[in-house]
């Protein structure tokens, strides 16, 4: 009986939601199937022996406490910044917004190096101020480095939600006699919940999958153990097994997020337009606010630029070097831009399903997308190699395959902001358009789409920035000889030529900043 209802209701879903969502869902299943195939190459006894080791638990505990630490620190950075740039009378808001997003584009190893180069006898602090502090490492070093370049995920999500939040809600609360603190706790924060959860989810899953920073900081997390299996044991079986454990962890986190998000309503139900926002005056808090903004930006942007700058001074690049940077940029953009567009196009129907459709399983595809994001990139790349050589050999080592891998890996990034926005858009707008005779597709594009346009653009930008700096998928899947900015940077750092790698890292950051600038000015125009 229930399944009959399900089928009937599913049939009512428009094709432009169902088909892309199903295709994307199948795409994200590919790497999971591969991991299961590889892991179960080993016999059960070996699997058990490998899994039930004390070390597995140590890694698990380390990974979870690292994730918790990064969530706390990045929230402390992102939420005040988002509020200040949307709701306060802070000056240079647009400029601050651009700067606050740019750290996302900085390659993780640069951030980690920046922190490490602060301390020690030869460190920046000692050279500039004569202060010798120990070099950050281990747990706190990893927490700091990861927070410094993942907080923009949360910043962007919270900012989008604040922009979409109708101030009339707060006004009503105030008129009912609530003080500003009560309004914040009882109205604003609950409304920000989907955005906070989406941001936290993306950061948590990023922390699970990142190995570059934990390796540099000498902190033993799960991802690092997986990387070690590939890199020093050439062992695809154990690596696949560990990846599956990591995916289990991901499911746990995604499930928790789903439970916390629940099935609440966030959309306006009244009629009429959204009220204009009245900016909160900072008054005597202004110095504190400016100090806060400055210190976050100095840590997240100033430090990496200090390191990149010192490398550039160490080995000033010549004209030929800049020309090769420009060539690599064109190549990078030629795969990152299509990947960002396709990701956004696929993310919309998935977010729509997750936010709008009350069907059993309608959130399943969204969860699969998060799995795609949390799979260690080396495992994902090998899965693509495995399947493409067997099923579509003519696609192997083509830009198409690389872009497909990007989409699978980054889908979750674009879903977050779109889903939060969809939850805030009243469904009755679209229903009204349909009742006026618009076909579903037209109704969506005439009513809902204009209201979620900004988060769609934000999601696209997010994917573009991350794809621009992506490394492991790129060097395993790109056409041979197709070297992107990040690959060019890496092939210098791998020979210990940090200074020679600097122009490429700098180019990634500069081009991404340019793009964020365009994005924010678009946001202002509406």
């Amino acid at each position: 009986m229930a399944s009959l209802t399900w089928a009937r209701r599913a049939r009512r879903l428009p094709w432009f939601v169902l088909i892309p969502a199903i295709v994307a869902g199948i795409g994200t299943l590919v790497p999971i199937v591969y991991l299961v195939l590889r892991a179960f190459e080993a016999d059960l006894e070996t699997l058990q022996r490998l899994l039930w080791r004390e070390r597995t638990w140590t890694l698990l505990v380390n990974t979870l406490s690292l994730t918790a630490g990064v969530l706390v620190l990045s929230t402390l950075m992102a939420v005040p910044l988002a509020w200040l740039t949307v709701r306060s009378d802070l000056r240079w808001k647009r400029f601050v917004t651009v700067l606050a997003v740019v750290p996302l584009a900085i390659p993780g190893y640069v951030v980690a190096y920046a922190l490490i180069s602060l301390g020690g006898v030869n460190g920046f602090l000692s050279q500039l101020f004569g202060a010798v502090v120990p070099r950050p490492s281990g747990y706190w070093g990893a927490v700091a480095a990861l927070s410094l370049y993942t907080y923009p995920y949360l910043f962007l999500n919270v900012r989008a939600a604040l922009l979409g939040l109708d101030p009339s809600l707060e006004e009503s609360a105030r008129s009912l006699g609530h003080g500003s603190r009560a309004v914040t706790w009882r109205v604003v924060l609950p409304q920000l919940r989907p955005a906070l959860l989406a941001g936290w989810l993306v950061i948590a899953l990023y922390v699970l999958g990142d190995f570059g920073v934990v390796a540099l900081m000498r902190y033993e997390a799960f991802s690092y153990a997986i990387y070690l299996q590939y890199s020093s044991a050439f062992d695809r079986t154990y690596a696949a097994l560990l990846s599956l454990v990591l995916l289990g962890l991901t499911l746990l986190i995604v499930g928790t997020e789903g439970r916390l998000l629940g099935r609440r309503r966030y959309a306006r139900v009244g009629s009429g337009a959204q009220r204009a926002v009245v900016m909160t005056r900072l008054r005597r808090w202004a110095p504190l606010a400016y100090g806060y903004v400055a210190s976050v930006l100095l840590a997240a942007l100033g430090l990496p630029f200090l390191v990149l700058g010192s490398w550039l001074v160490l080995a000033p690049p010549d004209l030929a070097a800049w020309r090769s940077v420009a060539e690599a940029f064109v190549r990078t953009a030629s795969v990152a831009a299509p990947a960002a567009l396709v990701t956004a196009l696929a993310a919309m129907p998935i977010a729509y399903l997750a936010a709008r459709v009350r069907l059993r399983g309608s959130r399943l595809i969204e969860r699969l997308a998060y799995l795609g994001y949390a799979i260690p990139p080396v495992s994902l790349a090998l899965a693509m190699v495995f399947f493409s050589l067997r099923a579509v050999p003519w696609l192997y080592q083509t830009a198409t395959l690389l872009i497909t891998a990007y989409v699978i890996s980054f889908l979750a990034l674009a879903i977050g902001p779109i889903r939060s926005a969809l939850l805030q858009v009243p469904p009755r707008l679209e229903e009204a358009a349909r009742s006026l005779g618009r076909r579903p597709f037209v109704a969506f594009f005439e009513t809902t789409f204009p209201l979620i346009r900004r988060p769609v653009v934000a999601g696209t930008a997010l994917v573009l920035m991350v794809a621009m700096k992506e490394l492991p998928l790129t060097f395993l899947l790109a056409p041979t000889g197709f070297t992107t900015l990040s690959v060019r940077g890496f092939t210098r750092t791998s020979e210990g030529m940090m200074a020679e790698a600097a122009p490429f890292a700098l180019a990634i950051v500069l081009f991404s900043s340019l793009f964020v600038g365009l994005l924010v000015s678009y946001e202002g125009k509406r």
Partner: protein, 329 residues
């Protein structure tokens, strides 16, 4: 019209030649190092080379995953372990004798499946300032002495270090190696991620000694002659002076074996060898290449290096097992 057709035909025949004479290299060695060599090779031979750059280990795993569909002709990696893994998996094709004939014993694989293109020696890096009063250790085994408590760095997750432990297991046995590892841990040895971070740790004052590869410090010194770190060999023949290699092999599914062999031969030419020593401070594998003055001589290296067959470095699994057992991985 006819002229256009003619030029099209000419173009087609040219690209046809280029296709027949092209080579795909999977290179774990960096682009900055490799690209100038490739350009010279193409200029000399007319063979077009496509290079896929990436991490040595990831590219080796990639070739394993690609199976029979691998487009790679040559694998060029930064350490013997990756080459060993490929040859163990049967993914390398035997090399002709004339390629390996001129190489000293420390630079060849006994199975003849791959060859070294340059050498990197393990050395002991130190802080001249903070070790001035110490006696120089004769052997890596001396570092478990209480005099070195908390002062030595190593990188247990680093490939070069693991190759060194593998060699120690082969030459001195499992028990002695395990005892040394445990002795080092008990002596509060400091773990780092890789060679560079260890050298930086000496400069930063965190440790006084580090077990590293020979070339990292030389690169720091090239940028800053006053960099506060020095390095040296243990006594001649000590396992601490192990010479590990960067090397290349021909993938068994290659359809361009002749061009691949020509490429390997090219890497052994004196001009290429001189290039390695001068650009990345590695040791040449053939005598007679113009030496780099920052390096010990070819003869001194041969004297210092322990007698270890590079093929034994293939047993990385046993080393990882041991490292896990003593709690390092």
């Amino acid at each position: 019209m006819t002229r256009r057709l003619l030029s099209l035909a000419l173009l087609a025949s040219l690209t046809g030649v280029a296709l027949a004479q092209s080579l795909t290299v999977y290179s774990g060695r960096g682009e900055a190092l490799v690209q100038p060599l490739i350009e010279r090779f193409t200029a000399e031979t007319g063979i077009e080379v496509h290079v896929r750059y990436g991490g040595t280990a990831e590219l080796a795993v990639l070739i394993l995953e690609e199976g029979r569909g691998s487009p790679a002709d040559v694998f060029w990696g930064q350490d013997a372990g990756a080459l060993g893994a490929l040859s163990l998996a049967g993914r390398l094709t035997p090399l002709p004798d004339d390629l390996t004939a001129g190489l000293p014993g420390i630079y060849t694989s006994r199975g003849g499946l791959w060859l070294a293109t340059s050498g990197r020696a393990r050395v002991l890096a130190y802080s001249p300032e903070r070790t001035a009063g110490d006696a120089w250790p004769d052997s890596a085994f001396d570092l478990t002495d209480p005099a070195y408590r908390g002062r030595v760095a190593w990188a247990p997750t680093n490939g070069s270090f693991q190759a060194f432990v593998t060699a120690m297991r082969v030459v001195h046995g499992e028990e002695a190696t395990e005892a040394w590892l445990r002795g080092m841990i008990a002596n509060d040895v400091q773990a780092y991620r890789n060679n560079t971070t260890q050298v930086e740790a000496i400069a930063a004052g965190e440790v006084d000694y580090a077990l590293v590869n020979n070339y990292y410090l030389l690169r720091f010194l090239a940028n800053d002659p006053d960099y506060p770190v020095g390095q040296g060999f243990f006594a001649d023949g000590d396992i601490g002076n192990l010479v590990n290699v960067a090397g290349a092999g021909i993938v068994n599914t290659s359809r361009n074996v002749a061009a691949a062999e020509r490429f390997l031969a090219f890497l052994l030419e004196p001009a290429s060898q001189a290039y390695f020593t001068n650009v990345v401070y590695e040791y040449p594998v053939v005598p007679g290449a113009q030496p780099n003055e920052a390096l010990a001589s070819f003869e001194a290296l041969l004297a210092a290096s322990p007698d270890v067959d590079l093929d034994v470095l293939e047993d990385l699994e046993g080393t990882l097992e041991l490292l896990r057992e003593v709690g390092l991985l």
